[in-house]
């Protein structure tokens, strides 16, 4: 008992000031990615302190997240492996992948909840290591897929507890602002157990905003939300991005990723691809023109094969044709002229747009085919 009391006194006497982060990493990513400059990031927002983005861990020039060959294995099972990427401050990064691809495990690893088995990472300016766990968690916030709320406590009591855990200054004001941001100010005194799934999700989002994080991990933030609430969350993410908060978004909603994310990574145990959605489309799919005519062409090969701007073509239905082109702006007028010269009644000529979903499905199908081949 005496030893216990001595230990308690010793622990309580020790200082608890946050540690200054280490020197900048040699790895460099622009401070505010995708054209979002620091001036915009300095704007006073409802969550982000003025100028906070200019001192993100004081590691000037370092990325918000820098991951090198990171891997996690549970016994013989590989959760993810050889994952490398960098994310700049103020960037919204989408992390996509099928169920069991390792997305949530990656978030847990970067959030210091579990230790990686290989590789290294820099999170908010700190190397991912057990010694830096507390300092990293001071600067990040994780909204898990399951809200994880104390159901018997009110919304305000839940947030009050977490305000204490993050040692937030002026917690009452902070809680009020977080609740206003997710449109829950009028439900502050309701028990969380009485809220719907969508409202609980919004409480979890408010909780994630409490600590004014530099890096915000959102694991399926719009799961269970109605379209209006999901749109509010999207607007909030946009707002946070403009204020320089780095957002690591895992989602199954590909249209959400396409709309919100500056870059996306597709994970299927290994990181299959990474880039802006438009880059991924161009990388995976040839640019094409979709041509529709009133009646089928009598000799389409003669019409299209003679065009220098068209690399190849194939049928798409009875009176439809898909032309593989390198530059649609040049090819479309040339194809139109050729069709008119051939006497075709042209209904439409348009550039085919592959969605992020097409990219995602293509990569996942490739993986499935590869695994079938191995089997």
């Amino acid at each position: 008992m005496i030893y216990l009391i001595k230990w308690l006194i010793r622990m309580l006497r020790r200082p608890t000031e946050p540690v200054e982060p280490p020197a900048a990493s040699p790895v460099g990513v622009p401070a505010a990615a995708n054209g979002r400059d620091e001036a915009a990031a300095r704007t006073l927002g409802p969550f982000v302190s003025a100028g906070r983005v200019t001192v993100p861990g004081a590691t000037q020039g370092a990325p918000a997240l820098s991951v090198h060959n990171l891997g996690k294995r549970f016994g013989d099972r590989i959760a993810f492996q050889d994952v490398s990427f960098e994310i700049g401050y103020g960037e919204v990064f989408g992390f996509l992948g099928p169920n069991g691809a390792g997305k949530t495990t990656t978030v847990r690893t970067l959030g210091t909840l579990i230790a990686p088995t290989s590789g290294s990472a820099l999170v908010a300016g700190f190397p991912l290591s057990p010694e830096n766990g507390v300092e990293i968690r001071r600067r990040i916030s994780i909204m898990p897929e399951s809200p994880g709320l104390y159901l018997r406590l009110s919304v305000a009591e839940n947030l009050g507890c977490f305000a204490d855990l993050y040692e937030v200054a002026d917690p009452k004001d902070r809680i009020d602002r977080a609740l206003r941001a997710v449109n829950l100010a009028d439900r502050a005194h309701d028990a969380c157990g009485t809220l719907s799934k969508g409202l609980r999700q919004r409480v979890a989002l408010a909780r994630a905003l409490l600590s004014d994080p530099q890096v915000l991990f959102l694991d399926e933030p719009t799961s269970g939300l109605d379209p209006v609430a999901a749109r509010d969350v999207h607007d909030l993410i946009d707002d946070l991005r403009q204020r320089g908060v780095t957002i690591f978004l895992t989602t199954h909603r590909l249209e959400e990723a396409e709309r919100l994310c500056d870059r996306v990574g597709i994970l299927n145990t290994t990181l299959r691809t990474i880039g802006r959605p438009s880059e991924l489309r161009d990388r995976l799919f040839a640019r094409t023109l979709a041509v529709k005519t009133l009646v089928p062409l009598t000799d389409p090969d003669r019409v299209f094969a003679g065009l220098a701007a068209v690399d190849s073509w194939h049928h798409d239905g009875t009176a439809g044709y898909v032309l593989a082109v390198s530059d649609p702006a040049v090819s479309a007028p040339a194809a139109t002229r050729a069709l008119v010269a051939a006497g075709a009644d042209v209904l439409s000529i348009s550039e085919s747009r592959h969605s992020l979903e097409d990219v995602y499905l293509e990569l996942v199908n490739q993986d499935q085919e590869a695994s079938r081949t191995w089997a």
């Binding site: 622990m11 608890t16 399951s146």
Partner: protein
Amino acid sequence: MGVSKRRVRGIFRKELREYRHNGNIIVAMVIFPLIFLIQPLLTVLTEAASASNGLAHEHVLLYMLAIPALVPAALASYSVVGERQQGTLEPVLATPIRREEFLLGKALAAFVPSLAISYAVLAFFLACVELFAHPGIASALLRGPDLLAQLLFTPLLAAHGRSGSASRSRPDRAMFALPGSSACSRVSRRSR
């Protein structure tokens, strides 16, 4: 890095609020003290004055030490089960809290109410004896050494009851029992 009083207080206050809203915990806080209060109280109040000699050789008060031994264990069990059922461990662990802060907050939240209940029950028992028991019985029961032992052993047993329950229900194990997180405890242990 030392323990953050605010984070410990945050866990402590949250626990007390949960107790307040949890009927099972309130029942546990009432039932155990009642069991160990009513029986000795009835015995003492129904004893005739002639029984005071026999009581002088018994340590009836020590019977009540079962309260600080059992109540913290019940509180700790409900607390750990509640965390796991509600899936609240992951969000809590994602904050800058350290393992010892979490456990200290939990331990205090079990220890303080148990101590308060134990002393309150003791005070009530002593008051009843003083007011309603035969004077000889009261003087036989209210002996200095017994009272001193009661005052000293109550916090010790409450602390042991808490740590005993902790070792059985392993809140630290529960704390790191996130899906697929065998290494989680290693991270946390090392990140202290």
